[in-house]
Symmetry: C2
Subunit: 239 residues, 2 copies
DNA sequence: ATCCTACCTCTTGCATACTAGTGGGTCAAG
DNA sequence: CTTGACCCACTAGTATGCAAGAGGTAGGAT
């Protein structure tokens, strides 16, 4: 009896490429599948099933799952199974705390950067992204809007010259993206997000570190407000 | 020809216990060996050699090494070998940036915690640690002093109720601890560290979030000042 | 009907074997 | 002496097989 595949292979990449470790590629596949809610919280994912699907042995799959458990995307119960992590309010608030701490530090550093050229470059880059977001909002293109939101925060972090900071922020953001992908009720939020992004950049442009930090802090607190609604709409995905 | 063991087994734990995954125990062993500079930066550590030493197969050792590469303690060069990471000024400053962002957020949260009881408990716990540190300083016991320093920062973070925050701070701190274990010229710093710790707690006690944040920030900047000296003393361990 | 037990199947953890790629050492040609 | 080709030892990456524990299920005793 042929079982349902766990992850739908994308047409552009039916298999794994040979120029990169299989474990690393599999990690990316499963991570994306979890973020996009293709793999649902609470769902069991067995090493054997995934190995068959990817056409490899259990070893690289297992190594990928270990990494995913490190970032809190799956939970491994020895001798019982591996499950996609469910959401919990506590864990999401924790992710927000970490993210806020880092992103506030990021904008503070940029705003106080004595090198005016770098600061200007950061401002220009982000203002361009904001302009694109306005277009996406006008087109009511939620997916594009969210991708540009990623770009905005990633671009800011990358101007610190600390690559791991950007990676951390992205990882913590991913937890929230999972929740957000439950349902796309972002459309009402375009305007608020846009004005918040603009406020952050305006403060950086003025070299006002405190103001930029406060703006970022408020922005993140606001974004996570949808947590008030979602657990009731999808209780089966929460602990 | 019997080779030199890579890691000296402690007398209290000559082997691995059976009640916990081997990979996890091995991870701890190697991490401690790297922090304590028993394994030196740049040194090659082979999966096979470690497996023989621990009396297990390559598999759990390999899984431990993957985790260690995640936290930047080792670097895996495919088909060439696994090496203990060397220091680099950039990476250490990056770790400081992350740590400062998180620890500033921690003291801010505690100082503004509306629950006075929790705040008081945090203050009491930390003041007790500071008292112990005074004793360690009087005895010129650098090792005890450093362990209490760990406790201090860990205790603060644990009062946020966000366990991953404490873990992150500990991980970033570990990079600096490696550097510090190169040489113990901390003795001259007892007084400065003590007064800085006291200033942080005093601000928290007063509920002065900004002051506590500034005190923590200054403390961390000061601690990392030994970076001015060490790379010249041990250039072989730096990139 | 209820409970208990034996068993069977599934899981992950670990051991072992094989593959492919890297780098050093040897030796011969120039 | 220098240079280059070859070989060999060793590396990490992957495949496969076995061990041990968890949990469901069938069937018998009560």
């Amino acid at each position: 009896m042929a079982k349902q595949p766990l992850i739908s292979m994308r047409p552009e990449s039916k298999g794994l490429s040979y120029d990169r470790p299989a474990a690393s590629q599999i990690f990316g596949f499963i991570r994306d599948a979890i973020i996009s809610m293709e793999l649902l919280p609470g769902q069991m994912i067995s090493e054997t099933a995934l190995a068959q699907q990817f056409g490899v042995s259990r070893t690289p799959v297992r190594e990928a799952l270990i990494q995913l458990s490190n970032i809190g995307f799956v939970e491994v119960w020895p001798q019982r199974g591996t499950y996609v992590s469910k959401f919990s309010i506590e864990k999401i608030l924790e992710a927000r705390f970490i993210r806020e701490a880092l992103e506030v530090a990021v904008v503070t550093q940029i705003a106080t950067n004595p090198d005016a050229a770098t600061r200007l470059e950061a401002v220009n880059t982000c203002e361009k992204i904001i302009a694109d977001q306005k277009t996406a909002a006008a087109d009511d293109d939620a997916l594009a809007f969210q991708k540009l939101d990623d770009n905005f925060h990633h671009a800011l972090a990358s101007f610190t010259q600390y690559p791991r900071v950007a990676a951390f922020i992205e990882a913590e953001k991913a937890h929230m993206d999972r929740v957000r992908n439950l349902s796309l009720h972002v459309s009402g939020q375009y305007k608020r997000v846009l004005s918040q992004h603009a406020a952050i950049i305006k403060a950086i442009k003025a070299g006002a570190a405190d103001k930029s930090a406060a703006a970022m802090s408020m922005h993140l607190k606001d974004v996570y407000n949808i947590l008030e609604l979602i657990p009731q709409e999808h209780p089966e995905y929460f602990i």
